[in-house]
């Protein structure tokens, strides 16, 4: 988690920009709701009970108790922390990598060109889709269609109309793009294709890969023997502490 934040700071993005703060605070809000939900709905008995009450009882079918013990808090924070770490990891990936870095990288580790081209076209397609979507939405507004302040079924109907127009556009555009690709003479199996942006894997990359794999193996090991990280560290420390007198004795 801390490592994560350091890495994000390393990417040199404007951390205090409005957008960034908006995204992070939005997620923290969502994350705290996860925490609260776990507290409210997971009824884990624990050694210390902080709070207990019954909210709804539907005869023999379902009983909603709120039971907050030390165990609930422990599990809820575990879940919340887990998603928090995943969020920051994903955030780091998206901030630090542009879509073209991804494609250059994929090509450099010899992923087939076709696959890279398809991924690239997906990104390109998304960009086109967004602009087209916006224009069509505006075009509908100029014909008196409201998107705010209308009932849900009407809203759905409006969006269906947008998609009809988008599908027509996409048909035309994909055909034109296909022609354009063919006209550059891009065969899907080419032996003597060269790579302009070539980033081969260096020692550093391998080192990081190995470190990640070791860490993965380590966490699997912990999982199998049902250790928690904290227990493990404590055990590890106690072993070392036991050893210290021995070494001193020697």
């Amino acid at each position: 988690m801390i490592l994560d934040i350091i890495l994000i700071l390393l990417t040199k993005i404007p951390v205090f920009s409005k957008k960034f703060i908006k995204i992070v605070s939005g997620f923290l809000l969502a994350n705290s709701s996860i925490f609260i939900a776990w507290c409210l709905f997971s009824q884990r008995p624990g050694s210390i009970t902080y709070f207990e009450t019954t909210i709804i009882i539907i005869k023999d079918i379902w009983i909603w108790n709120i039971l907050i013990t030390d165990q609930t808090i422990y599990y809820a924070s575990r879940i919340a922390l887990r998603s928090l770490i995943m969020f920051f990891l994903a955030l780091m990936f998206f901030i630090g990598t542009t879509d073209r870095d991804l494609i250059h990288g994929l090509r450099s580790i010899k992923v087939p060109f076709t696959v890279c081209l398809v991924i690239n076209l997906i990104f390109r397609g998304i960009a086109m889709f967004q602009t087209d979507f916006q224009i069509i939405k505006e075009a509908m507004q100029t014909r008196g269609v409201e998107f705010k302040r209308v009932s849900l079924p009407q809203k759905i109907r409006n969006f269906v109309s947008i998609f009809i127009a988008i599908i027509v556009l996409m048909f035309k555009k994909t055909e034109e793009m296909a022609n354009s690709i063919e006209s550059r003479g891009i065969p899907f199996r080419s032996k003597n294709r060269t790579i302009y942006h070539y980033f081969p894997l260096r020692k550093k990359d391998f080192a990081i890969l190995v470190a990640i794999l070791l860490f993965l193996a380590f966490s699997i090991y912990l999982r199998i023997y049902n250790y928690s990280l904290v227990n493990f560290i404590l055990n590890f420390l106690s072993i070392i502490l036991n050893f210290i007198p021995i070494t001193l004795f020697w």
Binding site: E138, G144, I162, R184, R193, T194
Partner: protein
């Protein structure tokens, strides 16, 4: 002279088309030719281009007779990359030609296919960008480029492959006249420097006469003229029958007529004061614009690509809210109107009708706006019939089930109908001439002119000098988001300095 491309009694029919698109074409293109191809929309010009570069018949389904030989070999016996290494094809729409995520990769794409070394690719990218004058744009993404720049990148990415034949399929239809001129001059320079063979499809009669040494006219799949480009003018009947623009001195005529019009004594229908607008990425699109538009005006808003024309008119129908300043529509703040109210006051026609048509059939499309606003059934019927008559769409409604199969010109007319049916007083039209032939443009403009005679206010954004000189009553010149001047068209046509400012070249 060496023949590089030869059509031998060539015919082609797409799998989906009813008739043959090309009919027994015999054509020889020699090395060093600068061939201009003209003809109305749907005549088969693009199909002809695709035949030279092998897309037809190698990648398209259809029926063929006769043959096309490129460098003495039948295209049917070749493979696509073998042809494309020597024949480059540039399309009309710069947007869909841009495949990669930035300029550098875009140009490198074709070069990698040729199997060039990394250093050579780098050299060629720099060389190609130098030629099109976009050095330093290597890392830009397509969203950061204007239409003209994208088109030049498309040319660069093909040029970098060093083809011997360069085919351009209406490469300038999205550009302002000055950028157009730049592209033509660029082609001229490349041609002289590298002794390329160029095949150019264009609607611009004057440009073809100026730059090409040979011209052919294709109409309805048949070659009806083949000869000197300058000889086109001796065949005015032929040009007229295939709906091609015959160059004439419209500006001189217009100035000579010098009808004094435009009296503004009433209240303005749109009044914009001190409008400024900045996009989220901090580019200032509009700066302190003051403009009054009156009932019955016919205004052309002109200026080079990216000068803020579309941004300005989007303020007139409430799509954008002014960040500074205010807009009065019929003496009422535009922010006080609801979306349906604006739709019945200001109509907006988009450049690409594909963005505006979202129903299956013509009838549904026209009635959509009315139904949405809950008009009574008989009123809808009445307005529908009237608009169909006005825009002569009846015959298409009977023949075509789906709007998808209509040609672009008709789709555009349908888009206009769907807007007009709401009876707006003001009609804004964004660049109606893209990818249309002369005949369609004049038909479309005729409709607008008639509407204007019925005292409707027309605001049109266009690069097309013909439309400006022939139809507009007044012009509004924008440059870099600033309003340079609003003045009657006659005065504008006399003032060369302003014309230069607005990137205007006489038709």
């Amino acid at each position: 002279m060496e023949t590089v491309v030869e059509f031998k009694d060539f015919s082609w029919k797409y799998k989906s088309s009813k008739e043959r698109v090309l009919k027994s074409i015999n054509l020889k293109i020699h090395r060093g030719d600068y061939l201009g191809i003209m003809g109305p929309t749907g005549a088969g010009k693009s199909t002809l281009c695709a035949c030279i570069n092998g897309l037809i018949p190698l990648k398209t389904r259809g029926f063929i007779s006769g043959s096309v030989e490129v460098f003495g070999e039948n295209t049917r016996t070749l493979k696509m990359p073998e042809i494309t290494a020597r024949v480059g094809l540039i399309f009309q729409d710069p947007e869909t030609q841009f495949i990669m995520m930035n300029v550098e990769d875009e140009i490198a794409l074709g070069l990698e296919t040729l199997g060039l070394e990394r250093k050579e690719i780098k050299n060629r990218i720099e060389w190609a960008l130098d030629i099109v004058g976009l050095r330093g744009f290597e890392l830009r993404s397509p969203e950061e480029l204007s239409g003209g720049q994208k088109q030049r990148i498309a040319i660069a990415s093909i040029l970098a492959m060093r083809p011997e034949i360069l085919i351009l399929d209406e490469p300038t239809s999205d550009l302002d006249p000055l950028s157009k001129m730049e592209v033509f001059e660029l082609l001229d320079k490349i041609k002289r420097e590298f002794e390329l063979t160029i095949v150019l499809v264009s609607h611009e009669t004057r440009k073809i006469m100026e730059f090409c040494n040979r011209a052919i006219i294709i109409d309805n799949g048949e070659k009806i003229y083949d000869g000197d480009a300058t000889g086109l003018l001796n065949n005015t009947d032929l040009l007229k029958s295939s709906g091609i623009y015959i160059p004439e001195d419209i500006c001189g005529k217009r100035i000579a007529e010098a009808k004094v019009i435009v009296k503004h004594d009433k209240e303005p229908i749109i009044s914009a004061s001190n409008i400024s607008y900045t996009y989220p990425d901090m580019t200032q699109a509009l700066e302190d614009i003051n403009l009054k538009i009156y009932q019955g005006d016919f205004i052309a808003i002109i200026g080079k690509n990216g000068s803020g024309k579309t941004t300005l008119v989007k303020h007139f129908n409430g799509l954008l809210k002014p960040q500074q300043g205010e807009i009065l529509l019929n003496n009422k703040f535009i922010t006080e109107y609801t979306i349906p109210q604006i739709a019945q006051t200001v109509g907006f026609c988009y450049q690409n009708p594909d963005h505006q048509l979202f129903k299956g059939t013509i009838k549904e499309e026209i009635e959509f706006g009315l139904k949405n606003l809950r008009f009574p059934e008989n009123e809808i019927e009445k307005r529908h019939d009237k608009i169909i008559e006005l825009l002569q769409l009846r015959k298409f409604e009977e023949v075509y089930e789906s709007t998808f199969y209509l040609s672009k010109g008709i789709r555009q007319r349908l888009a206009l109908a769907s807007v007009l049916v709401l009876k707006p007083d003001i009609l804004i039209v964004d660049e109606p001439s893209t990818g249309q032939d002369f005949l369609m443009i004049s038909e479309f403009m005729k409709i607008l002119e008639d509407l204007n005679k019925e005292n409707k206010t027309i605001i049109i954004i266009t690069h097309n000098p013909y439309i400006i000189a022939k139809f507009s009553k007044e012009v509004v010149i924008l440059d870099d988001g600033k309003l340079i001047k609003k003045l009657p068209t006659e005065d504008f046509l006399k003032n060369e300095e302003l014309q230069h400012n607005a990137c205007f070249l006489p038709p």
